[in-house]
Subunit: 255 residues, 2 copies
């Protein structure tokens, strides 16, 4: 049995609490938050506290707090040589105070508080300085049915950049799609299946192989027609830049 | 029962043939292609021909041929006043020779020849000049379990631009994600669930509401860190342009 003390009351903390409660080999022995009111719903299930001095011994302390708070909260913990991890995609392992045994337990997914999360589909990026700690993080991931990947702090920084492309920028493509449909009295609904299929396709083949459309075909006639149709200067700039990126990726002459 | 003559032997034609064969109220009476060899697999199931002069009367002639061929093939058809549609996202309804009753039956999806297609998830963009023709296209869509949307030629042109953003440009975001992971010895696998979740999210909420990340938060500190980490000039230019697009969309000051 792995004993966990959870710190923080945001989306990640709440989702971790729920999945830990359902896991056979994990017990959340305490849940800390600086505002106790955010945890009172859970007071009959788990020991809650707003006082770091009250923290019990545990196999692992999970700081699911905001990025800026990680360094200070880890420093304020009134013990040392215990295993303390954070759950951030951007913060270095070394931001955790060095009186602790340090690690990272970063679930790579977009969390929405009320949405149910199936942890078995969420990759966990794990990092630790000592082998037994790394082993504990692996066991923790497996106990909640998640795949784990050993990712160093330096890799994690780049992974976070990659996630901005995969998530935020992709979502901005959807937003522009939405703007174009609205402008032309087309239901956005029409494009939802295409969007889903595009994401599904690269689950099985590389994005390089999955590419279709005028740019990868080198169909400059269609590209010119499209550029003529696009009035919004922001859309036009993005169309040009991304078309050139595809042309370049696939070894064709740029516009 | 709707009788269909299918023309062409590419991905769309093949997928339409298969779904029509499974549909209760549709019968493919003939399948034409200029190269008969591409159709011989089907010769025991359906009448095949490479001669336009041999075409039988039917309720609808579906030109699932390449964009460039639509005008010529429609002209070469040795009859008039029958209902002829094409399946293209980019070609005008008016490119079909005006001796026919004209229409468009455009399934908006990325087709891969060998992949199985569930037509019930594919929106059909339909267009026709006469009401009975439009009604026939609606019935045809419903018979294969697809949702249909009435989309004019002018709307369809813009929809095709929107689809480039939703599909090709989104896929290029995945490609860049793939490049970043490869450069840093990270398995691309780690990001696949995030990519899928991002596409699933906008099935239920608008892309505007679904946006997350440093740009929508106005977190310029993280944006600067990311720009410092990105060495590839193409990636950097895209990061800057799309970050500015998100900042602009959400009413924040640009970089």
């Amino acid at each position: 049995m792995i004993s966990v003390v959870l710190l923080g009351a945001g989306n990640v903390a709440t989702h971790l609490y729920n999945v830990f409660q359902d896991a056979k080999h994990i017990t959340v022995t305490q849940w800390y938050n600086r505002h106790l009111s955010k945890l009172t719903t859970y007071k009959n299930e788990v020991e809650i506290t707003d006082n770091l001095e009250d923290l019990n011994p545990a196999d692992i302390y999970i700081l699911a707090v905001s990025d800026d708070a990680i360094s200070n909260v880890s420093k304020a913990l009134p013990f040392q040589d215990r295993f303390v991890v954070h759950t951030s995609g951007t913060v270095s392992l070394y931001d955790i105070n060095d009186k602790h045994s340090r690690g990272v337990f970063y679930p790579l997914q977009t969390f929405t508080k009320d949405a149910e999360i199936d942890f078995s589909t969420i990759p966990l990026c794990i990092e630790a300085l000592k082998n037994p700690d790394l082993k504990l993080l692996k066991t923790l991931s497996e106990s909640i049915g998640s795949k784990h990947y050993k990712i160093s702090t330096e890799q994690r920084k780049r992974l976070h950049v990659a996630a901005v492309f995969a998530n935020n920028f992709t979502n901005q493509m959807y937003r522009i799609t939405h703007e174009i449909t609205e402008e032309n009295q087309i239901e956005f609904e029409v494009l939802k299946p295409l969007i889903l299929e595009t994401a599904k396709k690269i689950q099985k083949m590389t994005p390089y192989m999955a590419q279709t459309g005028p740019a990868v075909r080198g169909d400059k006639k269609t590209i010119k027609k499209h550029l003529k149709l696009i009035k919004n200067p922001q859309h036009k700039a993005i169309y040009e830049l991304l078309t050139n990126a595809i042309l370049e990726t696939h070894g064709r002459k740029k516009l």
